[in-house]
Symmetry: C2
Subunit: 365 residues, 2 copies
């Protein structure tokens, strides 16, 4: 039988007891001995393996009947990490759903090959950036977007902090920026896409996605740590939208930052972002303002690209304080299926010159 | 000027530098010196205070212009914790929005006094429980609910693991359980409310809330760690629904479990649950299957009840492996404005007898 395999690292004593606790907690949350025997057998998770490389940490693999997740991402998350998120010393380090379960998900609509075709980028990395800073009025942001589009950027996203502030309300900003990018595309004959942020109230997200498309947005930015991974999945799977989606790490840091608890970088920013349908997964690169290690970053890259049922591989966007000087090193580290995301650094000096320089550098690959 | 005050604990060196990093990262995410001076002054957060009780940990208070959050909970979360969630050693320990900002939120619709009136519980704790285990068919769950309602429970929620599984699909379960509870209420003349879980796909949550109400559900269970805090806010604020809401901690453990990172127990399960509109905030009590300390639990209780603009105080539901024997101790610790939540333990032996015993114990207060 096809089962969902979850591997947890565990820092503590008595791994068999914590494994028994997890397999019950994440399914029936009920005294095991009181459950009917068929529920003990078919509904409760099964301990598949417990290994240890030392005497203080263990790897525990538990398999779950896919029926406990009912084919829904919301319940899959609940089974993976609902109450287990409250256990000290427990961290998810790998997730392997069976193909029969993965087949219920569309994953990235475009993925690596789809965005290469869309942006006519046969083999080079993608050129992406963000509109900043918060406080700028819509006309200023639109002129910034025009400059970046004229330089040949593929994707220009809202800074993730742009929402519905008095200095630039969502609709006014999206209207003006989308128009400026469209005008630039007419000049260049290019395909620059503007990705407005959909970090909006729960009952406005879906309508805003449609509005964004009507206004000319060519992509979308989702913050699944705030609006939920399933908001990303629903928008990615919507054939009437059919827009590339960037997933942003806002608030997701709390899942990865503890060494002994949480969910691994690769599973959060690779497996789950991709399962939900992100065409591009943004995460903080080594050597920027944040703290991810090379190993953690490469785990994200691996899980974004390795086989996951029939789901397309997604782009990775290592970001967070990157500069033009680091582009060769980033391509060396991650390869060309990488969306280079440089934000604030482009505004040091002349934006148009910096944008043109980045575009030339990347198009040379 | 009214500002949003956020206090972060910081474990590390050079608190002034991290404070400067946070106040910029959480607003403009842009090189400070390149921002126009009015943006530096009005949009970027301000360091209000840095204190230390030793030389390795600090308390940093930063205030934000409420306009950066634009009056939306999704953006408030982004400002509070979006990229800061990625910083090692940084944890939110207090949040004080100004009254002018809090006035944009309805908070708990019922709160302590509203549920006392609804359940005719003048001064006693509330009697609450959960339908389990996953795998049970709808008729079995409905008979369980009937037994509990006949015993006089106030609230009977779906176990948070119940979603849309083949053993009991959401609609069939809600239909049968709601009917059984209604029939029991006719017998007892009581007001037992059934709270189905709305841990459902993003685009089904709101419709499901309406369907649940039509089918006779008297309350709702939301998992904001999965569907988002704003899903809770939208449903709590909906005057056409007007149902009590229980907020569940699923996946929220990752925000609280690291000592040095994340968001404090009181802010997550107290302030944010209440701001979003939970009438009852469920969290794991001391001495159960989980790991919260007495201090952390009492912080949740305090932040659920202390002044927060005009928002009503919310009930707390300390749970997670509680037993009848612990009821006096829980009331001693938390007071009578507590929703006692005992789940699996009621099924040890005879459910009807255990339920009647709990009901008698609690109604004696």
């Amino acid at each position: 039988m096809d089962r969902i395999y979850v591997t947890y690292s565990y820092f503590g004593e008595d791994p068999k007891s914590i494994a028994d606790l997890i397999r019950v907690e994440q399914t029936i949350e009920f005294p095991f001995e009181l459950a009917p025997s068929w529920i003990q057998d078919q509904v409760v998770g099964k301990i598949e393996e417990i290994t240890s490389s030392d005497k203080s940490s263990y790897l525990i693999t538990i398999s779950y009947n896919p029926d406990v997740a009912g084919g829904e991402l919301t319940q899959l998350l609940n089974v993976l990490w609902g109450n287990a998120s409250l256990f000290p010393g427990v961290r998810i380090v790998d997730l392997k759903p069976p193909s029969s379960f993965l087949d219920k998900f569309k994953g990235p609509r475009f993925g690596v090959s789809g965005l290469r075709a869309l942006f006519k980028a046969d083999s080079r990395p993608l050129l992406t950036t963000a509109l900043k800073p918060m406080g700028s009025d819509p006309a200023t942001l639109a002129e910034m977007a025009r400059t970046l589009a004229l330089a040949g950027f593929d994707l220009i996203k809202d800074d993730h902090s742009l929402a519905n502030q008095p200095w630039a309300t969502w609709k006014e900003r999206v209207t003006l920026v989308a128009r400026a990018v469209a005008e630039a595309n007419e000049v260049t004959g290019g395909n620059t896409a503007y990705a407005p942020s959909l970090n909006l109230p729960f009952d406005q997200v879906k309508d805003a996605a449609y509005t964004a498309k009507e206004l000319g947005a060519g992509a979308l930015l989702i913050l699944p740590g705030i609006t939920g991974f399933d908001s990303l999945r629903v928008l990615a799977a919507d054939d009437s939208l059919a827009l590339p989606i960037q997933g942003h790490p806002s608030m997701l840091g709390s899942f990865v930052i503890s060494k002994n608890e949480g969910i691994s970088h690769g599973v959060i920013f690779g497996t789950l972002m991709r399962l939900a349908g992100a065409d591009i997964s943004i995460f903080p690169n080594i050597g920027g303002r944040f703290s991810f290690s090379e190993e953690q970053c490469l785990d994200i890259a691996a899980k974004s690209r390795s086989e996951l049922g029939k789901l397309k591989p997604s782009w990775i966007a290592p970001a967070g304080g990157m500069t033009l000087e680091r582009i060769p090193e980033m391509i060396e580290m991650y390869g060309k299926d990488t969306a280079l995301l440089i934000g604030g650094a482009l505004s040091r000096g002349n934006l148009a010159n910096n944008a043109a320089r980045m575009s030339e550098m990347v198009r040379a690959y």
